[in-house]
Symmetry: D2
Subunit: 370 residues, 4 copies
């Protein structure tokens, strides 16, 4: 693992997810760019001190020096966005597969550089768009792919939070600080951090791509990058959509929610209550589909990624674990019919969405092609 | 009453609403432009046959011939949109106050003509934007007006239905037929029929006006006017918003829902479950405010328009009745501090919203000022 | 109308319900046992002063003196429970049909006396167990009667409120005062007032009768009759059940809710959100059935008692109106296949439920046969 | 670990829970009473083959032969109920602390024997009443313990499922088979399996004990032990309650839900949506309390057992992990102010509840003291 030391949030989530997955073990890490902090973090985490490194460069070098069957198999990168590209490329060039926390990179250039390195080295990359790890999200994708509901007419997706709703939220908060600093996060704030999740979810469920967007991003007085915004968009299949991403909408905790309307049904899923999906029809009762490893009406692949029978709620950590598990399975040659994680193509689509949103907004919320 | 004969929907709703209100009596009507149908409808409705007329012209003339204390006090116009202006103006010129089903008219010109007639004659007009008759909608408006939640940051409002989701829905359906026929409905379809309700609700609750809009309206293949659309908009207080209006989103029955986010709270209300309003905060538990004439935390004005204590759900017909009741109270000099119905100013704002939306969409979803 | 003067709650509800029904007119009344108060109430309500009477005896006499086509057709009795029997019997003996607010009477003896008078005179009686007037409650009854879900296994019904949760609630509250006074309410408090509604709902939906009960009724310190209680019961078809009725459970506003579990499905309905019914299955998604006059999957009889299409919520007053409407239809020879209101048999079953509950509790919560 | 081999459900849950907890490692096991099956399971699970044993006797012997710092620290017993007592007592006598899946034992005698062994040996026992591991359940307990809501008036608790709703469910299902076989499960079916969870939840949240019960247990035709039942009960603080436990109520998946009504508030929590708790008041809006490690209004102890900020749903596995984590902390001398798992006293109370329920039902649903 690179990053994820003391005070970081997402690194700990990756570690629990990997433990739940059960097909990963954390054996080495460069947990901070400050060597002492990396070492202190490593002890806390319980990694063998001899494999806690002061930098990712040191880690890659030392691990390569170990016999193949003792060295790490893959690297998980959980640093701020601007620190994704360098370690990812170095790791791939050293022969390691890579897990990267989303978004792939802080700029389109860096994203492309990572993609090129993957092509060049033949290494695999999984980007942790966590929310596609939820069983019912996969079920929604399957239902729409089956064609039984017809074409997608309209998507409404939102990802809204309130943890940056006050001016003071930028002070004394490590996560907040890098996320709203263009130098660390890239040019995008909320749209980069969570708007990309929303776009990815819409693309994943519909099986389509966003092709045009008209976005208006705003921010509280005194801020440098967007903390709130909304967009109209077009899908490759001809449908239309709306997307809202914000970190200043008070009372919304982590409210990722999507509605996908097709010719014959409307599907609704909300991350905060992830174990139920509502499907509305015109001529018959609305349905609630429940998650659970014993729900007969779910597809076998969806059943296979659940650990408990219906009514034993699995949540965010299990969704995250599903991504680790799928990537682990793939590295060991046991992949399912779908990758089970965001591919390079998916994640580059997310980068394009972000670039187009920023450009649209900068030019006065005009339409921009992706 | 003008309009509302056999086969019409909204006329019957007006009649029940007036009966619930308790301060109105239906004593005369021209229920159809076909005299025989008007008469047959009148008998069914239970109006004295001597006061069932073959046309609104006939009605106004005959009623004016009655002694003042026997003639009608006001006229309720429930005809299709293109038949609003002529009877409304005639009624006002004859000295009658007027209730008009929304939208005010089929075009900006006709709307202005009605407004001018009102100015000229000094008559009062209530437009039945039903949804502002709900107690918790009024409570939301009061809460925001009080300033305790700070400024409005973002509004998300939707009004979506599915009753026109199929091509065949235009055949053999009287309501559908006129609503999607530009000659009867005006240039707007869903945006005119229900988008105006959504815009009105947003303006009513925030106490602001929509000032700019970027709207994209679409329709199913083979249709002449919009049945689906979405927009980004700006509010006069500086906040931003999104609005979706559609009659082709499968599974959404009559789904008018609004979220209003302020600096310190987010308010959420949904018409299909109108007796609860959710208010989210950042640092304390979410609240559910309940309707009911005995809820101590509701404002006195909101309490006064409810007929039953909490937990005895009042619905659409009672909200509609509140509009009749408020207008009746005003005509009798017993108005509250707020009008209690959509005023001419409110309704002209709605017409402007509609005109700007149509123009924006026609020009490729560019921004248009209202 | 007998009763329902100033300060009363349920009388006003009856009047609005009758207006919504549309096939009733309130033309005469003895609104209070105090003649002056009756007269003042009559003026407020808008009844012709010449037909506002000082007592029900006076009313019956005076109305009988009018020509048949001018006199009242039926009498609505909305007095406290101990004042039901005398006017009801007098009215029936004078040839008038009768509507009585539930419960039928304050004691089994008085209930039987009313039933005997009905038999003797051939007059019809409707008891307003309001909650069976809800469309989805009727739909639930039809679904179970159809046998497609198999036998009823278990019923869980509750009717809980909090308006008597404090000792002080008995002071200065007219409704509270008579309801908790054994001399006016009969021996039962909450079980009589709302427990009977819960039992009636269970019997109505299942189409069965409660045959045995084990009930434990309690009350706050210092009270004379029950304000809270729970029971186990048996149904005539072999199923089991639980029932809770309370007016001291804080936070429950008017929470009547029922679950009926059959061999192949479980149905769930809650009065505070009356326009949705949840049906759970074992092998397929849960269904939400929606109310609405245009929902194709509802039975024709259920469609016929709704005034608006889906998504326009109808509530308590409309459910109440359905009872008036059905009784009016029957008196005019236009009844449906089901009575549409609580019959004498239904209401006597309710009285037996109540008597058995009281006896069970008095004897230490032992089982008592009905 | 003892038990939990191939085909078992709860063993796998214990293993994931321990991994999430992060302070446990599974290093040895006797996963089945059939040695070959134990070995095959051990390989699948990933335990070092040299520490996969053919029986618990063998395991205890072999582990005791290892140096103290290499041998197991504690034993997790996940066998069917009738196989709890022997290994638990043997493990404690060998000096190991013990985790036991609930219920403690298949009979009161065996439960007492385990308790005696714990007293005799000084070993600690944690019984995994999973549902008390949920953060909001702990918050509910704290709120009630604080006294701010007054005394507990009434509890309504249910735990209902449908996986045994059909006669055929007993065939070919390992879990079903032992749970409905009195020889393996003890005399109790649903009341033992999940009724004890419901009773434990009620006692945990209220901080009181069930003192008297009147229970009626039933079963489908052809079954030997209860699969459905309901009870009235008394609490030690004077409050009353109802409890329903069933495995044959169709549509209920794993529906553990509790309402606790106090003098000044009513708390409601439902396991299938565990991250929200509803609190109703009489004079102010209902509150929804949200789970999340960053919710300022939650108590520090509740915050400390959550892994992610609000809106990132944690579920059943995390609740289970909290029990492992708390027991691990205690064994290492780092316990919180509350044990964090069901103590021997809690679990003996559960055994008494079960014994009294069975006796009550057998004697015709009479009242039995605990």
């Amino acid at each position: 693992m690179i990053g994820g030391g003391q005070g970081a949030f997402i690194g700990g989530v990756h570690r629990i997810a990997a433990r739940i997955a059960g097909n990963w073990q954390l054996v080495a890490g460069a947990f901070s760019s400050t060597p002492e902090k990396s070492r202190a973090s490593g002890i806390e985490i319980g990694v063998d001190p001899s494999r806690v490194y002061g930098s990712y460069v040191e880690m890659i070098e030392a691990e390569l020096a170990l016999p193949v069957n003792q060295r790490i198999e893959a690297v998980s990168i959980v640093t701020p966005n601007h620190m994704h590209a360098a370690p990812a490329i170095a790791a791939m060039e050293a022969g390691f597969d890579v897990i990267i926390d989303k978004p792939l990179a802080d700029s389109m250039e860096n994203a492309r550089a990572i993609a090129d390195a993957a092509d060049r080295t033949g290494r695999r990359i999984a980007v942790t768009h966590t929310y596609t790890g939820y069983p019912l999200v996969k079920q929604a994708r399957e239902l729409i792919a089956s064609g039984k509901f017809g074409k997608v007419r309209r998507v409404a997706v939102k990802y809204t939070q309130d943890w940056l709703s006050r001016a003071a939220d930028l002070e004394g908060n490590k996560q907040a600080a890098w996320r709203v600093d263009p130098k660390q996060s890239g040019d995008a704030g909320a749209f980069g951090d969570i708007g990309t999740h929303a776009a990815n979810l819409a693309e994943f469920i519909t099986g389509e791509r966003i092709t045009r967007i008209c976005a208006e991003l705003t921010m509280l007085d005194g801020r440098a990058i967007d903390d709130d915004g909304a967009a109209l968009f077009h899908l490759s299949g001809g449908g239309k959509g709306t997307l809202t991403a914000s970190q200043v909408l008070v009372g919304d905790i982590n409210d990722l929610a999507i509605s996908v309307y097709c010719d014959e049904a409307g599907l609704h899923w909300r991350q905060e209550e992830p174990n139920a999906m509502r499907i509305g029809y015109r001529d018959r009762p609305t349905e609630i589909w429940h998650a659970g490893a014993n729900r007969a009406y779910l597809s076998p692949e969806v059943v296979s990624i659940q650990r408990t029978p219906g009514g034993h709620p699995e949540g965010y950590l299990e969704a995250f674990a599903n991504i680790y598990q799928a990537f682990g399975n793939e590295l060991r040659g046991a992949a399912g019919t779908e990758p089970g994680y965001a591919t390079m193509e998916d994640t580059l689509a997310g980068m394009k969405f972000l670039a187009a949103s920023l450009e649209s907004s900068r030019r006065g919320a005009v339409w921009v092609d992706l």
